[in-house]
């Protein structure tokens, strides 16, 4: 399996605060990769650096072998990276269909003249984009509401719309920032099925999530970030039993102060 996205010694500081310190990550092509960690561990910062919203203070990020440093967000998106946001950022005043069609922006190629005269090429491309947008909306189960204004959607449906819109950029790697934050368990099950289906279609998914059950149920590989450093990497079973991860999430018992992991090994 080849590496699709690679973070090498990535650093990010805010003033004196080192949010990320030498983060190394390799996301393989295909499958679902998870990044978990306590609040404030720097997970969203990792996504912001990958998508070009912020620049790293050190280290390198490579997508499919290409260095992303200095690229603007739209250039990175055009290389095949798309993301959703923890706090949903859909275009609320536009219809669902238009939202998804915005994602196809860089895949539509018609000139100013074709646009003005509504040339055959223009109409064919717009038509194809509309059909593809409807198809993507059907993937997330929103095709029946395609012409409604996005603002009217329920919270869970807005997340699904954001997912469809990200897919419209035809990404090779899809970054999901807490895709089930604030959802009830029924909605979580729905989203899980949607993400599984997306991965089955060949999209590589890299997600941040707090919900352990959700992450464990979806991801083949999980990395754990704490205080700006990767403290563990492995499959769900390895992560579940990793003492450092348990410590990061539950804290350490003061009575057993000392090298807790080695104690566990002795037992």
């Amino acid at each position: 399996m080849s590496t699709l996205l690679e973070l090498n010694g990535v650093e990010r500081h805010f003033g004196g605060l080192k949010v990320l310190q030498g983060v190394n990550l390799a996301i393989p092509q295909g499958g679902v990769f998870g990044l978990i960690g306590p609040n404030g561990a720097g997970k969203t910062t990792v996504f912001n650096l990958i998508t070009g919203l912020q620049q790293p203070d050190g280290g390198a990020i490579r997508f499919d072998g290409r260095d992303l440093s200095g690229l603007k967000p739209h250039q990175i998106t055009r290389l095949g990276l798309a993301r959703t946001f923890q706090n949903i950022r859909i275009f609320k005043g536009m219809s669902l269909l238009e939202n998804v069609m915005v994602g196809q922006h860089s895949h539509l190629r018609y000139g100013a003249l074709g646009l003005l005269l509504a040339s055959a090429g223009f109409r064919a491309q717009e038509q194809r984009a509309r059909e593809r947008a409807r198809e993507l909306l059907s993937w997330v189960g929103l095709e029946s509401q395609a012409d409604e204004v996005a603002d009217k959607l329920s919270y869970g449906d807005q997340r699904k719309l954001e997912l469809a819109r990200a897919l419209a950029t035809e990404p090779r790697l899809l970054l999901l920032d807490e895709p089930v934050a604030g959802m009830n368990s029924a909605e979580k099950v729905e989203i899980m099925a949607v993400i599984r289906a997306i991965a089955a279609r060949g999209f590589t998914v890299f997600m941040i999530e707090h919900d352990m059950k959700f992450v464990m149920g979806l991801c083949e590989q999980i990395a754990v970030l704490n205080f700006g450093q990767i403290i563990a990497l492995g499959n769900p079973e390895q992560i579940r039993t990793n003492p450092q991860v348990i410590e990061a999430y539950l804290g350490r018992d003061d009575d057993e102060a000392g090298p807790a992991p080695s104690q566990g090994e002795r037992a």
Binding site: H74, R78, R89, F91, G93, E98, V102, L115
Partner: protein, 287 residues
Amino acid sequence: MEAFDNFWAVYSNLVLTLGTNALLALSIYLTLSCGMLAMANAAFMGIGAYAAALLTMNFDAPFTLALAGGMAAPALAAFAIGQPTLRLSGVYLAMATLAFGEVVRIAILNTESVTGGALGLNGIPPSTQWWHVALALALVLFGLWRLNRSRIGRAFEAIKEDDTAAGLMGIDVAGHKLLAFVLGAMIAGLAGALNAHLTFFIGPNEYGFDRGVEILTMAILGGINGLLGPVLGAVTLTLLPELLRSLNDFRLVFNGLILVLIVLFLPQGVWDPVRLRQWFKRKGGQA
């Protein structure tokens, strides 16, 4: 036919002003629809007016060439100042573009040998016919209508809603903002060029702060939900003082009062399809 001739003799200037004001309102609609509060449109109108007038007066250029020059000059200016200023947003962009307008006005005042300075340019041939204005308005409306139905129109709207998310959709945000700014400058310049060949005289103070606010008011009052809004806003703001002429001394009072009422009861502007539909539905329900 005689009645029409009489009407035209009295009101031709008003009707043509309607057309150029509609163009101006559409020029700022373009930047507003891309989420930018750029206040340089009066200056672009002035640059267009002076460029076109100088072309006809000093170089005997044919009218079409003068109009083309009147669009090209502000487009170039917009391209040059757009690069640094469009990084700003909100009131900061408004302030920077207002400052640019002041720079243009003072530059015109101080280049007397070319622009006539404070005395302005006199004796511009009145080449603008009513159909020039009508055709210009029709073409601009058609062009903007096509633009709105394309990926570029969607990109403008996406940038207005959330420019970070728009960038992550693969949209070149800075490029599209610059495009909206330059196209808006071209339309404002066209209005200026047509207007200059209508009024015989142009002076630097016609393109100052007051005009900039008037242009913005027309667009906001009419509504920026669609192309009809700015046109209706221009019509309202141009016709209202004329319709209230019989009120003599109270004219400006009622003019202001009506504008306040429109803003209060139609906050999205005169052209607000959603609200209009609601009103008519309610009336239909009562009947």
